[in-house]
Symmetry: C2
Subunit: 295 residues, 2 copies
């Protein structure tokens, strides 16, 4: 096994409803298991048990976690979950608990940042020093890579919470974000679609008016990120983006919004390869955590 020679790496996708964890060295040899997210202690016990049952120790473990997560290496609460609405998990030392239990170095980042790293290593962003990975599902999040590294800055980006134009005469839904009402996430995440139309997104037909509005809102977000980050490609993943009819609609609307102002062939002529789905699918999170461990 290739892993034995190189050493195995561990990975944990820490999600709000389930944890997925595994060992390997890449998409071809990754072995995974999963469990439901319960209390911090019971969940991490289960994860730690999985790694202890391995025949070989892991060289390092990567964690892509729901958040917010304290990512400041100089902070006394580095690696802790911080102000999550999940009260039991608030101020839980996720990285430290795993590191101490397994005696292995742990690298932690947000779930979306980890997924971006996975796509950079094995997926749709191979070879790109500057790109953006966006997930549209229960929430909206973005992981930006600039100069080949994930952007953290002060804390980490919270891209779903940008404000965009909202025409209340055309769309009276007030937005569902408990903090900001009609920020992008409040208007365009999966639960917002369901709240607006009374039907879960997966049950809305491809020709439903919901998708035109959704494409408009997501294109407004993409327009903002193109103007702010100038990414070389944008990957759009998450449950809502399984509606593949959204891609051509978003590309067309983004082109209209940019109006030819940014002179770049990628935006003017090659939009089909500029706004694309990720390639790692359901394994983006756990493979992203693996990329983090191997970095």
């Amino acid at each position: 096994m290739r892993g034995s020679a190189l050493g195995l790496f561990g990975c944990i996708e820490a999600g709000g409803t389930k944890f997925v964890y595994g060992v390997g060295t890449g998409p071809d040899d990754l072995i995974v298991d999963s469990c439901a997210t319960t209390s911090p202690e019971a969940t991490t016990d289960r994860v730690v048990g999985f790694f202890r049952n391995l025949r070989v120790p892991v060289k390092a473990i990567g964690i892509g976690s729901f958040g917010p997560v304290d990512l400041d290496p100089a902070s006394p609460t580095y690696g802790y979950i911080t102000s999550t609405p999940k009260l039991e998990w608030r101020r839980f030392d996720l990285a430290g608990t795993v590191a101490r239990a397994l005696g292995a170095p742990v690298a932690i980042d947000t779930d979306v940042n980890a997924a971006a790293l996975g796509e950079a290593r094995w997926g749709a962003a191979r070879g790109l020093s500057d790109f953006l990975y966006v997930t549209v599902g229960t929430g909206i999040g973005g992981g930006a890579v600039t100069h080949g590294q994930v952007v953290h800055g002060l804390v980490h980006p919270e891209m779903g919470h940008i404000r965009i134009p909202h025409d209340r005469s055309g769309d009276p839904y007030p937005g569902g974000c408990p903090y900001h009402g009609d920020c992008l996430e409040g208007l365009a995440c999966g639960p917002a679609i369901e709240a607006r139309w009374g039907t879960p997104p997966r049950d809305l037909p491809a020709g439903h008016a919901a998708w035109k509005l959704e494409a408009r809102y997501l294109a407004l977000g993409l327009n903002t990120w193109v103007c702010t980050l100038s990414p070389k490609r944008i990957l759009l993943g998450g449950g809502v983006m399984r509606q593949r009819q959204l891609f051509p609609m978003i590309r067309a609307e983004l082109g209209r919004l940019l109006s030819g102002y940014v002179q770049a062939r990628a935006l003017l002529e090659e939009m089909d390869s500029y706004v694309v789905p990720p390639e790692l699918g359901d394994r983006a999170g756990v493979l992203g955590a693996l990329a983090l461990a191997m970095k």
Copy 2:
């Protein structure tokens, strides 16, 4: 002279109305001259003449230029001005013309990116690996530094052209951007203020309603950039920001927009040192070009 031992560096701030150029090694020994921006040939002849008249050759020259500029080192038109409305300058090889005339290496970037580098080296962003420099004047532009380097990505950011909420019942002005109408720049640059109120910004009293609206729009921009880039500090410069009453208004509005969602002391308690004026003042552009030469 310190410059003689280290070697002198040259710098050019290439503006749409004037060029400022100089030699030195920092704010304390910089010697500058300037000329009006006329044709590309006449203007660069004048600049080249300044450097030729020096007693010592310069080790390198930095150019902070109006744009858009082709910043892709792999492009055959690297260092050219591209789609500017100034027709004479369109497709002019600014970096190459200067480099060939003076036989010195030239580094070029946008004016706002150069200013960001200057503030990082000698101004209000000293020691910060991740920050944002925004200028609000004839236009609105932003230079983002992440991981200690200016963000270029696909082309370079065009931050003024993000879309923000625009309540037409409260502000019927349709926006003045020829490409996007009511993008941030279209609503909040100096000419937009003048077009909306019929008075140049510098003649509007500090208590005028214009400033409340301006602070609202700029805070919406800052909110977007905090969510997207997570900068450790935001510097707000340019002619409009000489209205110092804007700073406390923008900070308060940004705090309201974020609503405590991003848990960081800088945003929750230390907003006075988070949104600040630049320190290099009118010399930000030319010192930025100098920082570029010395990099």
